[in-house]
Symmetry: C2
Subunit: 259 residues, 2 copies
């Protein structure tokens, strides 16, 4: 993701504005006077906030706290997010290795799409990494471009699942009518091929929460006879409710909350 | 928790040994050459590992990775753990404020005991904060002293629940036969008074997982007619399974895993 100079300048000015003059970029701990600086305090708060979000302790939040703009950018862009993803996917790969597959073709696995298979970080950069509220029209316009990039560690897991003979189901809250074809194209151009079904939100589930919609679809898969061995998503609404899977994997997402 | 000089020295030497010569204490990010140092790399790994543990992505781990001994000590002792706890309990307090209590006395709330109401950090210090494997005899000897200290933000929540008229149930895997009286005494000497029941593990649940045992007990409470509004624990086995509660709160614990 190349930063334009103008974009970087705007982000920098916004960061300064919202950080109320805090010294941005350095959120480290030390024993000197700096330990009482506002950047230190903000860094500690933002780390607590991120943990709260990832553990499903902080719910129904609409925007990232403004003082965490720089923190979230640092987290996403400068390596920790990638490390977190890799560690989680290593756990998933080890788990996959230990699953005794049955030869009946009913061993299933579920993956969410947005910010699980495909990244929207480049889009959220334009929304101050979630400090701006959700903008459905702008997000749709972004998704219509079909230019989301794969999350490499998730693609690695996906390919392993396909190779081992799992039936992989991609389950997304994206609207089938408007985003069906472009989502298929985007998944394919990023290497997500060979899955069993892409399951998108239809009129039947209009207005229902992601948790309800996804629980219903997973229940239908189990009713068809599939064993859901694993379920990967960036939202707890991907992972909780009915038929959630024998094991779930929560991918980090400090940018937005889907109920 | 006062550190003796001898203990501190031993811990320091252990830290140096297990950190493979890494420069301990500084886990910060920067753009200079330090960003490739082993302390930086270990710090990133340990932060990923802790997130993996707290999100239930890393399961069935027996010990803290040895290179994270100093990281976990720093986390627990130098403020971030306290900040994390406070933020989570603030979420719980806000949630409590919004609950419409019914005047039938059946509004319930569940709290775990060890490392939820009462802290064992002082004990785990002697076990390299979980880098040493679980030692049931030593833990029992520690618990028999009745000297665990309250986690202040959890005690604040507890008192608010009592004041508002919730029926508070303390649900612990501690063995009733051996630790019953000392646990009651320890809870009382730390200010946990006025709860409805302390529910401890009896012979019926010997050998069963915490998740199974706690699910069963919660189900029994619901069968009695209690509405479980909230459920607080430091282990996912406190929070998953049947009758888990309308909302759950995961307290951090990077020291041990209970299945």
């Amino acid at each position: 993701m190349a930063h334009g100079v103008g974009e970087t300048l705007v982000l920098f000015l916004l960061a300064v504005y919202f950080s109320k003059g805090m010294s941005i970029r350095h959120h480290h701990e030390s024993n000197d006077n700096e330990s009482t600086s506002s950047s230190f305090i903000d860094g500690r708060f933002c780390l607590s906030w991120r943990l709260g979000v990832e553990t499903n302790n902080v719910l129904l939040w609409r925007t990232v706290p403004t003082q965490c703009l720089q923190y979230v950018e640092d987290y996403l862009i400068h390596g920790q997010y990638d490390r977190d993803l890799e560690l989680i996917m290593e756990q998933a790969l080890s788990y996959v290795d230990a699953i005794p597959l049955v030869a009946d073709g009913m061993d299933g696995w579920i993956l969410d799409v947005d910010d699980t298979c495909l990244s929207n970080i480049y889009y959220y950069k334009s929304k101050k990494y979630g400090c701006d509220p959700y903008d459905p029209l702008a997000f749709r316009a972004w998704a219509m471009k079909g230019g989301c990039t794969a999350l490499p560690p998730v693609l690695t897991l996906f390919n392993k699942l396909i190779d081992k003979g799992f039936k992989v189901f991609l389950l997304t809250g994206r609207d089938e009518g408007t985003l069906g074809q472009v989502t298929i194209d985007n998944l394919h151009n990023q290497g997500f091929t060979g899955y069993e079904r892409l399951m998108m939100r239809t009129m039947v589930y209009k207005g229902k929460s992601a948790a309800t919609y996804k629980s219903d679809i997973r229940k239908q898969l189990e009713d068809e006879g599939y064993r859901i061995w694993g379920n990967v998503g960036d939202q707890w609404s991907d992972l909780q409710g009915n038929s959630s899977g024998n094991r779930t994997f929560k991918i980090p997402n400090p940018m937005y909350f889907v109920p």
